[in-house]
Amino acid sequence: MSDHHTPADDSPIDDSPIDDSAADGRFVVDANPANSAVNIAAAVRSGARSATEVVEQYLARIAEAEPAIHAFNLVMVEQARAAAAAVDAKVAAGEDPGPLAGVPVALKDNMCTRGVETTCSSRMLEGWKPPYDATVVERLADAGAVIVGKTNLDEFAMGSSTENSAFGPTRNPHDPTRVPGGSSGGSAAAVAAGFAPVSFGSDTGGSIRQPASLCGVVGVKPTYGAVSRYGLIAFASSLDQIGPFANTVADTALALSVIGGHDRRDSTSIPEPFPPVLDHLGEGVEGLRIGIVEELSGHGLDGFQPEVLARSAEAADALSAAGAKVDSVSVPSTIAGLSAYYMIAPAEASSNLARYDGVRYGLREDGPNTASMMAASRTAGFGDEVKRRIMLGTYALSAGYWDAFYGRAQRVRTLMINEFEQVFNDYDLLLSPTSPCVAFPFEAKADPLTMYLNDICTIPSNLTGHPAISVPFGTNSAGLPIGIQVLAPLRGEVAMYRAAQALEEVAS
């Protein structure tokens, strides 16, 4: 990525007032309320701080710690400065600078930014500059947000560790010898390392929530269709959903209130405003009925670390103490979700990624005829994990196997949806760990199936379309973050946020 610039290439920037703890080998920043998106926007809107001052503070932090973390594929120094200056000009002119005025944000590098390289961390799209902005990008710009860069991911969002990036892995700010999770590992690490107060990812099987859990930040997958996918480069269209990362639950609510809501350019977009999460923050959990998912919370579960299960039990106790009615509930099809997912997602991916053929955009390798040119381009452009999923999906969709694999997975998906809907008749929310384990060392899960098992807790809500949030809830004995997941029914974000904030209060 020799053409990618870092702040070091640009003009000098001010010293950062942000504290960090790199002296102990960690790159996380201390939580400072002044650096929340809510407070930055309020300060910029009132004129108390300038957007320029804010963006310089974050660019300085990026210049300082990004070489150790590699959260970004591209830092957009000049564009960020120009966007901040435009916000300051609006404030000076007495115009409304928007609800995210001056808030630095980082975007997963699978969201189209007009004229700015968008790679999906793949050789296939290296150097590609989209001719249009994703809807979320437009809405963020209109709201006064300042985009500071494009973050690293597992190639085409396929993976749970960001090790599948063609441009090298991202490191976990809590321990740079460990993965940040994935596939939105760069976005999670960017918030944890203090590179931006808010970032955005996409979640197809847990790709926002699992890295949020492993990096100790909040991560949200909204209801399917609640945020437009227009301009999100497709992986598995019936599962993909964009959502935010932040240090606080309230910051993710603010972000969603900006990017959510109907978009005519996405035919799966729900024709309703985003649920009014900002209006109900701080209402507490009194009276909410919360079920602990037994299949994901019992001791002795394969691959679940005891400390993760212990924190999960503490979270349930904390919600109970805060006034919720908490008990255990069985959702047996949860476990089958993994198998259904690893048929459905690759099947959709094999179809979506057929567009990369060396004709209209992306990598082209020469060949004597069209078919050989296409095969040579795809072979050179895709990494191993992408090839595996394309082949798995092609197989699952092929004649003779369609009914047994893809068709059956779609029917099991229906069973899961029915079962969850049944459970949500009796419970407002469900609770589980976000990930069965804390951040693991690089190359610890080299076997694909072992890596896939990581997604056991997060996959169900992608299959059902339900919203879910991961909230940091303490650490293990080695100081590595543990996240708790709250699941809600379709468009149940308001109750989900009430529980998430209650957990945040107890954890802090």
């Binding site: 001719p131 198998s339 060949g367 798995l392 092609t394 068709g407 029917r411 076997d447």
Partner: protein
């Protein structure tokens, strides 16, 4: 919906062979060398073996789900979208173009 009657056919032969993987790679326009064929055959077999657990579910009469939010028949006026990319911008990203069109090697036969 359709095909409810075939959902309960017996399990397919789950043993994925090296030849199966070669065929699938060909369909997906991917060139694999011998080492890759061996490696991918083992890795994909492991995933398919795990997927056999789907056979344990009784899905007779269960309709398939293609997308999870209950939206149907989404319509909008058929009006040109002014924000869509114009031809020059769309072609700018192409590896090769000529006379305002994408250029590719011959579809039939081979390049001279």
């Amino acid at each position: 919906m359709a095909n409810d009657d075939v959902a309960d056919d017996g399990p397919p032969d789950p043993q994925l062979t090296r030849d199966d993987v070669a065929k699938v790679a060909q369909l997906a326009l991917l060139n694999l060398n011998d080492d890759e064929l061996d490696r991918f055959t083992g890795q994909l077999s492991a995933v398919l073996d795990r997927a056999r657990e789907l056979q344990a579910f009784d899905v007779s009469g269960v309709a398939p789900t293609a997308q999870p939010y209950p939206l149907v028949n989404v319509f909008r006026p058929d009006e040109p979208d002014t924000v869509s990319a114009v031809r020059e911008e769309a072609l700018a990203a192409a590896p090769a173009c000529e006379d305002g069109q994408f250029r590719v090697p011959p579809a039939l036969g081979e390049q001279p």
